[in-house]
Symmetry: C2
Subunit: 334 residues, 2 copies
Amino acid sequence: MNDKVLLAHGSGGRLSHDLIEKYFMPRLDNPILNRLDDSAVLEMKGRIAFTTDSYIIKPVFFPGGDIGRLAVCGTINDLSTSGAVPKYLSLGLIIEEGLPIADLEDIMASVSETAKEAGVFVVTGDTKVVDHGSADGIFINTSGIGIIPEDIDISGANAKDGDKVIISGTIGDHGITVMAQREGLKFTVPVESDCAPLNGLVSDILKVSANIHCLRDPTRGGLATTLIELASQSGVGIQIYEDKIPVRDAVRGMCEILGFDPLYIANEGKMVIIAGPEDADIIIDILRKNRYGGDAAVIGEVTSQQKGRVVLKTGLGSSRIVDMPAGDLLPRIC
Amino acid sequence: MNDKVLLAHGSGGRLSHDLIEKYFMPRLDNPILNRLDDSAVLEMKGRIAFTTDSYIIKPVFFPGGDIGRLAVCGTINDLSTSGAVPKYLSLGLIIEEGLPIADLEDIMASVSETAKEAGVFVVTGDTKVVDHGSADGIFINTSGIGIIPEDIDISGANAKDGDKVIISGTIGDHGITVMAQREGLKFTVPVESDCAPLNGLVSDILKVSANIHCLRDPTRGGLATTLIELASQSGVGIQIYEDKIPVRDAVRGMCEILGFDPLYIANEGKMVIIAGPEDADIIIDILRKNRYGGDAAVIGEVTSQQKGRVVLKTGLGSSRIVDMPAGDLLPRIC
């Protein structure tokens, strides 16, 4: 009967309480959340990282993940970029009236599984329901808190001349997968979203190198936009080599057919690492041992030339400035 | 030309950066946000409160406030219910393509003013844009972090037999105001939303009483739902007196005409306080001196009877059990 989400599920009344008790608490169960006060109470000491992201991806389910996994991974990865150990998440749902309850259950199962995989707890939440036509299925906001170990100082402003630029794996998988889903395209070689929590991978490399200067996950705007941001924030130039950047054949093929550049396609399970050159080899070794870092590669270096800019050296030996895209190649990719 | 929000403003590319630089940073400027890393870095020690809420109110502008003020107040008030001193907010925007930039500017001005009034900083944010028809104007998520002073232990589970139940002012103002806006109703007596940050009020009463056991802001579901939650969480009964509950004439009149009960109408600037009876007078004195507590009143008490239930004594001396509403009286009120 009630196989769809109703406006009343967001009312704060009895149906809201039922939704929380029946579908959310069994999945998210932990002593902090279980208090059910308006705020979670956490013990903290030292520096913490705090971040927020809303997820509006379309479609909600896609090969390699769904909006639930994405919402947990995205915020975990943002926390990880400051070198923090992610600990606690909030979960804010905006649901369109009429969303199948079965979809909500699948999404909550993903949230729960991904949080367990990453070792984080959802400690506070909120559910709102809007009338049919006033949203598109479900939007999720996750905010997150992580603890920054004492000796860590990682920021987009810390890249230094001579540093190496590393990517933890192939680029473009997420964006191309979601677009293919949306457009109903068929691939001969299947491609999946890379959507993954990278806190383990980051913690692995921080254990072996004290010379990691910047971490950033190249999501919206892709690797190109991320590198331009880092070059600008640090006031340095970045030079990258086209033929060192790992791209799957299926992604490269799709990009060629459609006129996209993989540099601008979103990733949801990759990390850009800028580190002192002396540690590049050990970082690559460690990344490749991680389940999410098998295709890690050094793709370029930081220079003192062309400050604030990213220069791409092509396979043919020519150079071009990498521009920040004005707008969207692919809207609603995350 | 660009007087409306475009999909490209949410792309992560150049237009996203322009939007942030032009409209957000000047309003929200603070050293933590200005780093522009993916996570804010905060120094913390001891217990912190962490909470999240999404705001989907319709219409976005209403007498007494707008979605920007509401989003800041709502999360500040949730933090305050744990006795925390609110410190930092995140701001997650989901904007429908086509929202007038002028509206966005007004909303950001409200966010900024309300944050200043309450002494909190927006330290991290995110902006997503969805295609026209996939959202309704703008939705805002705010998550917040506050610091809980050492000697504070406030929870919905702490109400004790004999405690007094206090409300910080008139009920129903917010819900009735928003409904009147939406329905185009005209009042002879004007009514405004009570939307306000209550951290100052909470801090005032915590200074004079060590016997405050529960704090909760009666938003969705109104005073009735909040009291039922507290009775249930604490395993106590709550008895309230109809003629002691402050209600504005205009709100009472509207409720009578439309068949609503003010007990169930949302508030956005009120606090329910449950405290030891010995401190009720001083708490009322202090509340009434605060700009948001002028109509504060003791409205009932905690009992050991009818555990988990709220009983209303009417003006005529009869009693009735106050039920939790199943669904929405007024959807999209916050």
